[in-house]
């Protein structure tokens, strides 16, 4: 089994990137691969809680919960959260197989080292 790293930069409801990251992660996890994700810049806002669901629009919060439940490890750029004032709004996933963790850019290096392939979703 392989391990895949994914980086993205865009938040929910402004870009398709969070949705694509969830879809790719789901597919990889379902095939038994490991997934590590780095949320950079606005992407940190993809994992905020209390995002209101709208019919017909992809449920970003639910999507990220699902992949964390399945084992994805998500690292959030901590500085990006702080400058946006949304650090306290992050979803908690205490009982999940995966994890959501605060991180710094050095964790990008960690992900690159620990994964076999690295994708960026613009």
């Amino acid at each position: 089994m392989a391990s895949i790293g994914i980086l993205f930069f865009s938040g929910p409801h402004q870009s398709q990137a969070p949705e694509t990251v969830v879809e790719l992660s789901n597919a990889a996890l379902d095939k038994g691969h490991e997934v590590q994700i780095f949320c950079y810049m606005d992407a940190v806002n993809a994992v905020l809680e209390n995002q209101k669901k709208i019919e017909g629009i992809f449920d970003v919060e639910g999507g990220f919960r699902e992949i964390v439940d399945k084992g994805a490890l998500i690292r959030l750029c901590s500085l990006c959260l702080l400058v946006r004032g949304t650090a306290k709004n992050c979803m908690k996933c205490k009982e999940s197989k995966g994890k959501i963790k605060r991180a710094g850019t050095p964790d990008m290096e960690k992900i690159l080292k620990e994964t076999d392939k690295f994708l960026v979703v613009c």
């Binding site: 950079y40 290096e109 690159l112 994964t115």
Partner: protein, 113 residues
């Protein structure tokens, strides 16, 4: 991926108006173990203009130069914008497009900003 994995960080957006190039340089600093090659292409070349306000990212440039990493600029992108090497800071190297292209497609991982 092993440390000899080739990593290119591609700056393709202008330096102000968004934080993409700044964040790209910050990422290059953070991934120093891979000795990433930073390449400025398209509007990314404006990042290294002498006269551009670099107060937010000058420290990243300094750090990358201190550890002997190269900052490349795509010559074709410069020419399309009426710019020459003399408009750029000394820390960068200008390469022709085919050399730049080879480095991009020869990288194991390309991170675009």
């Amino acid at each position: 991926m092993p440390e000899e994995m080739k990593l290119v960080i591609l700056l393709r957006q202008p330096p102000h108006g968004t934080l993409y190039p700044v964040e790209g340089l910050r990422m290059a600093v953070a991934t120093e173990d891979f000795e990433p090659l930073v390449i400025a292409i398209n509007d990314g070349v404006y990042t290294f203009l002498k006269d551009t306000d670099k107060s937010v990212y000058q420290m990243h440039i300094n750090f990358l130069k201190e550890i002997d990493l190269e900052l490349w600029v795509d010559k074709q992108s410069l020419e399309e914008r009426g710019l020459t090497k003399s408009d750029l800071i000394d820390e960068v190297e200008v390469y022709d497009h085919s050399t730049v292209r080879k480095s991009i497609v020869g990288a194991n991982t390309v991170i675009p900003l």
